[in-house]
Symmetry: C2
Amino acid sequence: MTIIDGKKTAAEIKKEIAAEVNEIENKGGRAPHLAAILVGHDGGSETYVANKVKACGECGFRSSLIRFEDDVTEERLLEEIKRLNEDDGVDGFIVQLPLPKHIDEQRVIRAIDPDKDVDGFHPVNVGKMSIGLPGFVSATPAGIIELLRRYGVETKGKHAVVLGRSNIVGKPMATLLMQKANPGNCTVTVCHSATPNIKEICREADIIVAALGVPGFVTEDMVRPGATVIDVGTTRVPDATRKSGWRLRGDVDFDNVAEKCAFITPVPGGVGPMTICSLMMNTLKAYKG
Amino acid sequence: MTIIDGKKTAAEIKKEIAAEVNEIENKGGRAPHLAAILVGHDGGSETYVANKVKACGECGFRSSLIRFEDDVTEERLLEEIKRLNEDDGVDGFIVQLPLPKHIDEQRVIRAIDPDKDVDGFHPVNVGKMSIGLPGFVSATPAGIIELLRRYGVETKGKHAVVLGRSNIVGKPMATLLMQKANPGNCTVTVCHSATPNIKEICREADIIVAALGVPGFVTEDMVRPGATVIDVGTTRVPDATRKSGWRLRGDVDFDNVAEKCAFITPVPGGVGPMTICSLMMNTLKAYKG
């Protein structure tokens, strides 16, 4: 059994990116520049954005953080997006989600220049990914594909079962795994809240990608020996032994499932670190045009 | 066993559209207008476009056919698309595929105003469909969903197996069937050329959508009793008894499969007629804005 070390892989990739940026600067080029818009003071969002800014530093990128209060108007936000779209010094930018309820998230996303949409949330990037055209793939699925590639997990002809049908994980993950590509070429089954027999279907899987957000959902009896299990879940569960009072728990009952697997990602330290890493890869790609 | 009569359903829908157009005109409005660009003289393309023009007539739409010779330049084609994008008298238009090899199909598709892209091929429409936003869904999957709806085929919690992963049928079909919608809410498995055990997977299916383009691929032993079978295949096979020398054959061995099914579509007369019908529905939608 191999534990897929997302933290280590992410660190390696960031080093590779930093080396490339170093070379660009040695040749007289400027560093890639990622901007982030953060609205309000949600704890989770603050942490995510702080981690993204930190990762930019590790990659040698320039980063900008643009803050708005909770009561910012949609118009003001769209104005800022327009400014970033037009700023040749900004290669890519993200708007940290979720946004306050009075703002139409989809309208905001669609306002982003698709060529700067390093989160890959703009419909045109979603569509390009589906068709198999070059574009920006959303960070979590892209990070998982990168882990499968770097760990040499065989995917061709394998049966991948994706648990969850969200727009940012389940659906793009399914599309990427079925594409005529490597990693890819899987038979793909997507299960979700309306699937009556998830347990049986998981037992048929060579690869399980769990993205339901239900802690410990995937139990030992659902995994066949030699399967690869990718855990996208990151739910905060109470933990009195921690100073914070909580810890992250994945969708997989890791302690009992791990020994049956060929490959498995832990939580934390699996898919999570790769997500920010994908954002860095997308930013470098945006920079290169 | 119910044979899903696509020809009859398509005729009904066209009547419904014609009634709506009639009402629009009675109120002093102009008729919806679909334009089609046809390059060259491929027999299949000529037939498809002629059928689309005919369907426009049945729906009370205005139609325009714009022809170019095989040697038209990409620039000239893009110019024409720009003209149609800007023409307020044209609600929607299509560029009949395939195009000659010297023309970049994706570049042509991306030049179409997404709000006039009634074929639903533009990446932004593909992405919107995936995310579940309003937009134009490509004709064949949209037509299949309409058949499932009108025949009251239960989809929620059912296992749908899609054979084929093409951009215009397999992938969008899978996405539509898994959406939180009705029809929809299926567990969806996508099989393709790299799937080693298609037979076994089909045996688990409540709904099979066959879009491989392999005549007679789905045989009786692959279908479980009570399944719904949707046949998207339309391959021309030699037939000496016909004047034309050929007949259309689907991906399903209809004669032996039909009796096991709850619902099945024939070829011809199943999915085929619905495809053009979807284009008409999309055109009316484009007209309404």
